[in-house]
């Protein structure tokens, strides 16, 4: 299986990320009422992206992170179970976007379309998402994405990263930087294994642009040109962007970006996302 064959508008405007719809059930779907067979709730696009991720990286989408529940509960002692959900809700009260673009609710398909077509998972309006409009920045600004889009697939693992990362000395040092309204600390990288244990990388997946003529830089440039042509109603003069799964996150890091809080009187974690090790920058 090569490439990414669900191109822009090829589903005739159907909402690709809708979590469940009757017409999208796979071949193995059975009629309601049979209690012994699971009903396929994913769209075809979601199932396609999931399958590619499974085949290329061995990702087990049913594997659940072994949650350190007591540890998460201690993160904010006044909060009750379920711990991870509450941590993510707490994150949602801030101005960060890590839980919106890099957490388990983002599907494999959405992650794939983000890096290939610059469709922002945080943009809840389907038309604006397909038009490449950012979902968080004000106005109609184009969404930006690096040459990869990555996520922590399990919400408990994400909450654990957030809890442990927030307590890590390097992140604490960044957050404790004397406040300046015009500047902010640089990003911090922490090994995935330090935050999630030796198997923690299995909770991470990602998609990366396929290099063009061996060049990731060219692929990034072409993606912008392709996106611009589509927005202008022109026929793109560059190839349609393609994406493939990041082979592995073993040995990788979690990047924490720090920015101003909503009150603009201190710093907070603006986002966090997994990054695979350097040798995976090239196409496998």
């Amino acid at each position: 299986m090569v490439g990414f064959d669900r191109g822009f508008d090829r589903d005739n405007g159907a909402e690709g990320d809708r979590p469940a719809e009757a017409g999208a059930h796979g071949d193995s779907t059975v009629q309601d009422g049979d209690p012994r067979v699971a009903v396929e709730t994913r769209t075809r696009g979601e199932a396609y992206a999931d399958l590619r991720q499974v085949v290329r990286t061995g990702w087990d989408r049913h594997q659940r992170f072994d949650t350190p529940r007591s540890e998460l509960a201690m993160f904010r002692a006044e909060r009750a179970s379920p711990e991870a959900m509450r941590i993510i809700v707490a994150a949602d009260q801030g101005g960060g976007h890590g839980h919106i673009r890099h957490e388990g609710w983002v599907t494999e398909e959405a992650s794939m379309r983000r890096v290939a077509y610059l469709e922002d998972p945080a943009q809840l309006d389907p038309g604006r998402r397909r038009a490449g409009i950012d979902g968080l920045r004000p106005g109609d600004r184009n969404h930006l994405c690096a040459s990869r889009s990555t996520r922590i697939t399990d919400p408990d693992a994400f909450a654990t990263v957030l809890a442990r990362g927030s307590a890590h000395p390097d992140v604490r040092a960044a957050l404790s930087t004397p406040y300046d309204r015009d500047s902010r600390p640089g990003p911090v990288r922490i090994p995935i294994a330090d935050l999630l244990g030796s198997d923690g990388h299995r909770a991470c997946t990602g998609w990366q642009l396929e290099p063009v003529a061996g060049s990731t830089r060219t692929a990034v440039d072409n993606r912008r040109a392709w996106r611009t042509a589509i927005a202008d109603g022109r026929q793109p003069d560059v190839p349609e962007p393609r994406a493939h799964p990041v082979p592995t996150f073993e040995g990788g890091t979690i990047v924490f970006a720090v920015s101003h809080n909503r009150q603009r009187n201190g710093y907070e974690i603006a986002t966090l996302f997994p990054q695979s090790p350097a040798h995976d920058l090239t196409h496998h």
Partner: protein
């Protein structure tokens, strides 16, 4: 990008400040050009004087940049280092020329 950020691996090498600041404010996951524009106007920040000098140097001699480090860190889609650096200069310093006609750097 290697195991850690360029400025961590080579804090004393040329362009470490340029790469650190552009990564901090312009990487797609943390894009905040407005803050960088405000910061660029701050004359009380010594690091911004270094940043401006390194940006000038990179525009004048892009071949001196450490291989693909700038792109790998910032992930811009301008087509080349030179295009990115010149756009950045315009956005931060407007019509101020990065280099005088004589080829010497203009004074800040």
């Amino acid at each position: 990008m290697d195991e850690d950020f360029y400025w961590k691996r080579h804090p004393d090498r040329p362009f470490a400040t340029l790469i650190r600041i552009t990564t901090t404010y312009l990487h797609p996951e943390a894009d905040d050009p407005e803050s960088l524009q405000r910061l660029a106007r701050r004359e009380d920040r010594p690091e911004m004087r270094v940043f401006k000098a390194e940006l000038r140097q990179a525009i004048t001699h892009p071949e001196q940049l450490p291989s693909d480090e700038l792109f790998d860190h910032v992930q811009y889609d301008d087509g080349s280092d030179e295009a990115f650096l010149r756009r950045l200069w315009r956005e931060l310093y407007g019509d101020e020329p990065p280099v005088t006609e004589s080829g010497l750097h203009s004074t800040p």
